[in-house]
Amino acid sequence: MDNPGYKSLGVFDITTSDTIEGDWVEDLEGALACLVNVRFLYGTSSGSPSVKAYLQTTTDDEATVCDIACVLFEEASEHKILNFSALTPKTSQVTPTNKTLSDDTSVDGIIGNKIRLVVVVVGTYSSSTQVVAGINIR
């Protein structure tokens, strides 16, 4: 890993039902570990809304994506931290998922050369609601 350190996954303004794909953070070849920081800054909402933040990686240059975490937020500000290791053995085959990983679960041991966040919003939030995320790659 020749460029370790903090990389922003983006700032996502949360308003209405939508799927927002963040930019891929690239050039992560040689990464051994990834510390993930996801903050949900809650404003107001109506109905029974939810925000699912899918952390994704790719092992074939974006031909397929693979969920490695799904963080669920609802109607309160939260701050979640996860850590992944590229050295965790995966001797049982993993089938990549795309925005279907179960809520508040994660898959360790799969870190490709690109990582991004995809935010799926259901319901309505105020314009001051945001998801802010970043990784500390090393």
Partner: protein, 129 residues
């Protein structure tokens, strides 16, 4: 065929900034939450000469030069869901901030210099302190 190498130009600028640049932080604020996107980098700041203070340029303004290297490495400012897709977000824009030893400086204008499609240099003007 041109023998200009954009990466060599960037490397030369990085070397110059390492020698004479000042430590600074480039900051962009988003939304009513004032969410910050920051990157630490080196910057050269200089005041304007009397004959340059004309039009929108004021006496307290300073010209700045920075390299795209740290901006690309971060990457800064990173993805933001409400940004337009047809502009280069890496170029500082009005109301972005440069936090330097002399205080908080507010970007008034900035532009990038591209060589063969590669951003090699960023120049602009700040105001403050």
């Amino acid at each position: 065929m041109s023998d200009v190498d954009p990466q060599a130009l960037i490397a030369d600028l990085d070397d110059a900034l390492a020698e004479v640049g000042a430590e600074a932080t480039l900051v962009r604020l988003y939304g009513t939450n004032r969410t910050e996107s920051r990157v630490d980098l080196k910057v050269v700041l200089r005041g304007y000469k009397a004959e340059e203070i004309t039009g929108e340029i004021q006496q307290t303004d300073q010209a700045f030069i920075m390299s795209p290297t740290e901006i690309n490495n971060k990457p800064w400012p990173g993805f933001h869901s409400n940004e337009p897709e047809n502009i280069d977000l890496r170029i500082p824009r009005k109301n972005d901030q440069i936090l330097a030893s002399r205080g908080k400086l507010t970007v008034q204008e900035a532009d990038g210099i591209w060589v063969q499609g590669t951003l090699v240099r960023i120049e602009g003007r700040v105001r403050g302190n």
